[in-house]
C-alpha cells in the first residue's frame, strides 16, 4: 500500500469542501450586489472525477485541453436556480446559502474526522502498541 493512497477519498473531499466553502462565501458576500448570480458546484460529480477509476485524456503539452485539472474549474461552476430572484438581477438567497455553507462546514469536519481515524490506525501500525 502506498502512503498516498492511505487516506483514500477523504483527502480529495477535504480539498473540494474548502473550495466549495470559498464559492459559498462569495455568494454570501455578494448577497447585495446587483446582477450577481449565485454559483455552486455538483459536489458528487467533482468527487467522482478525483477517483482513480476515472479515465483521463493525456495532456502531454501545455496547450492540450485535458480533463486532468484537479479541483474546481470554471466549466464545473453552475448557477443556482433562484426560487425568487430580486429585481436587480441578484439570485442570492441568503438563507439558502447560509444553510449550504454550514452543511458544507459540517461535512468538511466529518471528512477530517475520517482522516483522523486513518492517521490513528497508521500510527498504531507504526508504533505497534
Amino acid at each position: 500500500m502506498k502512503l498516498d493512497d492511505a487516506f483514500g477519498i477523504h483527502e480529495h473531499a477535504v480539498r473540494l469542501r474548502t473550495q466549495r466553502a470559498e464559492i459559498l462565501a462569495g455568494n454570501l458576500a455578494n448577497a447585495d450586489t446587483p446582477g450577481f448570480k449565485a454559483r455552486d458546484v455538483d459536489f458528487a460529480a467533482l468527487l467522482r472525477r478525483e477517483l482513480p477509476g476515472d479515465v483521463r485524456l493525456a495532456a502531454t503539452r501545455p496547450g492540450h485541453i485535458g480533463n486532468d485539472t484537479r479541483g474546481v474549474s470554471a466549466h464545473q461552476l453552475m448557477y443556482r436556480n433562484p426560487q425568487q430572484a430580486s429585481l436587480d438581477g441578484n439570485t442570492v438567497d441568503a438563507v439558502r446559502e447560509q444553510v449550504e455553507f454550514s452543511a458544507n462546514a459540517m461535512q468538511y469536519q466529518a471528512s477530517l474526522r475520517f482522516l483522523e481515524g486513518k492517521l490513528r490506525s497508521l500510527l498504531t501500525a507504526i508504533k505497534g502498541d
Partner: protein
C-alpha cells in the same frame, strides 16, 4: 491546497456592508439639513456594489465584493414654503434633502443582516481551519 480565501471574501463583504452602513448613517444624520438652494442641499447617497473576480482566474470560483462607488439619489428634493425660515430664499422657499427615513431604516437592517452573515461565515471557516490544524494531534 488553496490558501483558504474564505476569510478574504467574507472580509470584503463585511467592509462593503460597513461602508453601506456609514452611508445610511450619513443620510439619516442629514435628514433635516435645510438649505436655500437646490445645489447646496444634501442628496441621499447610495452605495453601488460590484463583484471582484480573481485576476488569475477571471471566470473562476472565488468572488469577493467591493464598493464600486457612491451615487446621489436623483429623486426630487422637497421644497417647502416657509418665508420666515432663516434659510429661505428670496421667494420664501426652503429645500429639504430627498432622504427617505423609512428606506434608510430598511437599508440599515439589510446591511446589518448581511454583515452578520459574513461574520458567521468567518466563524465557521475559523472552526474548519482550527480542526484542520489539530488534525492528528
Amino acid at each position: 491546497m488553496s490558501s483558504f480565501k474564505v476569510f478574504d471574501i467574507a472580509s470584503s463583504g463585511m467592509s462593503a456592508q460597513n461602508l453601506r452602513m456609514n452611508l445610511v448613517a450619513s443620510n439619516l444624520a442629514n435628514v433635516d439639513a435645510v438649505s436655500s438652494s437646490t445645489e447646496a442641499t444634501y442628496r441621499s447617497r447610495q452605495p453601488v456594489f460590484r463583484t471582484v473576480l480573481d485576476a488569475q482566474q477571471p471566470d473562476g470560483a472565488t468572488a469577493g465584493v467591493q464598493m464600486a462607488g457612491v451615487v446621489e439619489s436623483p429623486a426630487p428634493l422637497n421644497r417647502d414654503y416657509a418665508p420666515h425660515h432663516p434659510m429661505a430664499d428670496e421667494e420664501g422657499y426652503i429645500y429639504r434633502p430627498n432622504v427617505n427615513p423609512m428606506e434608510e431604516m430598511a437599508n440599515m437592517i439589510s446591511a446589518s443582516r448581511s454583515y452578520q452573515n459574513n461574520v458567521e461565515v468567518i466563524n465557521s471557516a475559523r472552526q474548519m481551519l482550527a480542526a484542520l490544524i489539530n488534525l492528528g494531534r
